[in-house]
């Protein structure tokens, strides 16, 4: 047991020393140039909203300095937060995939609320169905809901296109929804939840507003439980 911890410890130390070796060989100027390139790269790539892979960062930006990855990514993370108000998050621990999220909920120029983008209204419809159903919805339930408003996922929709593909691939990859198997369900069943990006960048209150609009309901507080949830979420927010 003692030996094992010792081994782990020394391994860790080794990586650290390899890293600092890379950094020691670089001048402060070189280091800051790499961090600048890295930040620029992350900003550009984040426009697609897709996860950014560590291997791509190494290939495109770091090159032979890849060993200093952890150090450089930490520095970039700090700059992104201090200057740009963006949070760099590793998708899951050790997933080696990163996503850049805004610090600001309901940023009117980042998200769907900005003028009539069809793409965004589809996303908002889907997120609102999930939310209205109690934050999780089975795939069949969601498809029923969509069918009721004229979106049949089995067919190509004339405005929204291939909805199933967007739902299960694009929105999942962009972090708007999570799509997973229901544990223990027989027969196999899948469910949708809000993804990391939706939870971070959208507020439930805004989604509720959106639902109210499409249902022509003036006052979102008619949905008592959702309203309470949304407000509870909103209360401790940034001013």
């Amino acid at each position: 047991m003692a030996d094992e911890t010792q081994l782990m410890f020394s391994q860790e130390e080794q990586t650290v020393s390899k890293q600092s070796k890379v950094l020691c060989q670089l001048s402060a100027e070189e280091i800051s140039k790499i961090v600048v390139d890295l930040v620029r790269y992350l900003l550009i790539m984040s426009q697609k909203k897709l996860p950014i892979k560590r291997s791509d960062i190494n290939k495109t930006v770091l090159g032979d300095k890849s060993r200093g990855f952890d150090h450089f990514i930490e520095m970039a993370k700090e700059r992104l937060s201090l200057v740009f108000g963006m949070e760099l998050i590793e998708l899951e621990l050790n997933s080696k995939s990163y996503i850049l999220l805004s610090e600001f909920q309901d940023h009117p120029y980042l998200n769907c609320y900005s003028a009539g983008k069809t793409e965004c209204s589809l996303l908002m419809i889907i997120l609102s169905f999930i939310f209205m159903n109690g934050n999780v919805i089975s795939d069949n339930q969601l498809y029923d809901c969509l069918r009721r408003i004229g979106i049949d996922i089995e067919f190509h929709h004339e405005v929204f296109g291939d909805v199933e593909n967007k739902l299960k691939k694009d929105y999942v990859r962009q972090g708007y929804v999570e799509y997973s198997r229901v544990v223990g369900a027989e027969p196999v069943q899948h469910e949708f939840k809000w993804g990391l990006r939706a939870r971070k960048e959208l507020s439930k209150l805004k989604v509720l507003d959106f639902v109210a609009k499409i249902y022509g309901e003036e006052d979102p507080s008619n949905w008592t439980s959702q309203w309470e949830q949304a407000n509870a979420e909103n209360a401790p927010n940034e001013s």
Partner: protein
């Protein structure tokens, strides 16, 4: 000096959109101030103090080779704020969100537009460039549509493609360096001019908005080139 939330919020709008007209910027600034309980007008002049606000953002983004700058629309004189890359060769860095073939096609289109003399090319000519970049015409067409949506390109009333303000603001130095023979600078403000007014006799060219200011009080406007002095026949111009 660290940026406040308001600055970052404002900056993010620019990162997402690239360009806003002066009027839109005003609205964005007002919304930003409201959201973060900030004084919208400065107390002394009672005017929105956008200038210093943008200035502090610029100081902080400069190390990342980014800058918010003013640009004027060549066609209608409307001024805008644009977030530009100041890194060398910005055209290729302009966006890794486009493929190499697409960037190549865009470069060719820029070259064609700059060399056209009129500052625009027909959509047929533009689409014909696609074959030299290993692209099919429909692909090229949807790429151009995307470039219009992102405000790099625009379609002018006769259906021709021309460079939009965002593109000129971002790529002016690149164009001047790359095409020194075709690219012209405005006789008034010395900046790149693509669609302006040109003298019939000499090579003098000026922006429409610069011409408007310069010839404001002239009854018979003449070419600003002292050695030329030909009558300046414009006002309808293309």
């Amino acid at each position: 000096m660290a940026l406040e939330k308001a600055h970052k919020f404002f900056l993010q709008a620019f990162i997402a959109n690239g360009i806003f007209t002066a009027r839109e910027v005003h609205k964005l600034y007002r919304e930003t101030c409201e959201r973060f309980d900030r004084e919208f007008c400065d107390r002394v002049h009672n005017e929105p103090d956008l200038g210093p606000f943008v200035e502090s953002i610029n100081m902080n983004i400069k190390p990342f080779q980014l800058e918010m700058k003013k640009a004027v629309d060549e066609a209608n004189g409307v001024s805008s704020f644009v977030l530009v890359n100041t890194a060398d060769n910005s055209l290729t860095k302009l966006s890794s969100t486009y493929s190499e073939n697409e960037l190549e096609l865009f470069k060719k289109l820029v070259e064609k537009i700059v060399g056209s003399g009129t500052g625009s090319v027909s959509s047929i000519e533009a689409l014909n460039l696609s074959s030299t970049c290993k692209m099919k015409k429909p692909e090229a067409e949807s790429f151009f549509t995307n470039m219009i949506e992102h405000k790099w390109l625009k379609k002018i009333p006769d259906g021709h493609y021309a460079l939009a303000t965002r593109c000129i603001a971002e790529c002016d130095l690149y164009i001047l360096q790359q095409y020194p023979d075709d690219a012209r600078t405005c006789n008034m403000c010395c900046r790149l001019v693509i669609q302006g007014e040109s003298c019939r006799e000499c090579n003098t060219t000026i922006h429409k908005h610069c011409s408007q200011r310069y010839f404001k009080d002239e009854v018979v406007p003449v070419c600003p080139n002292q050695a030329c002095n030909a009558e300046w026949l414009h006002r309808q111009s293309r």
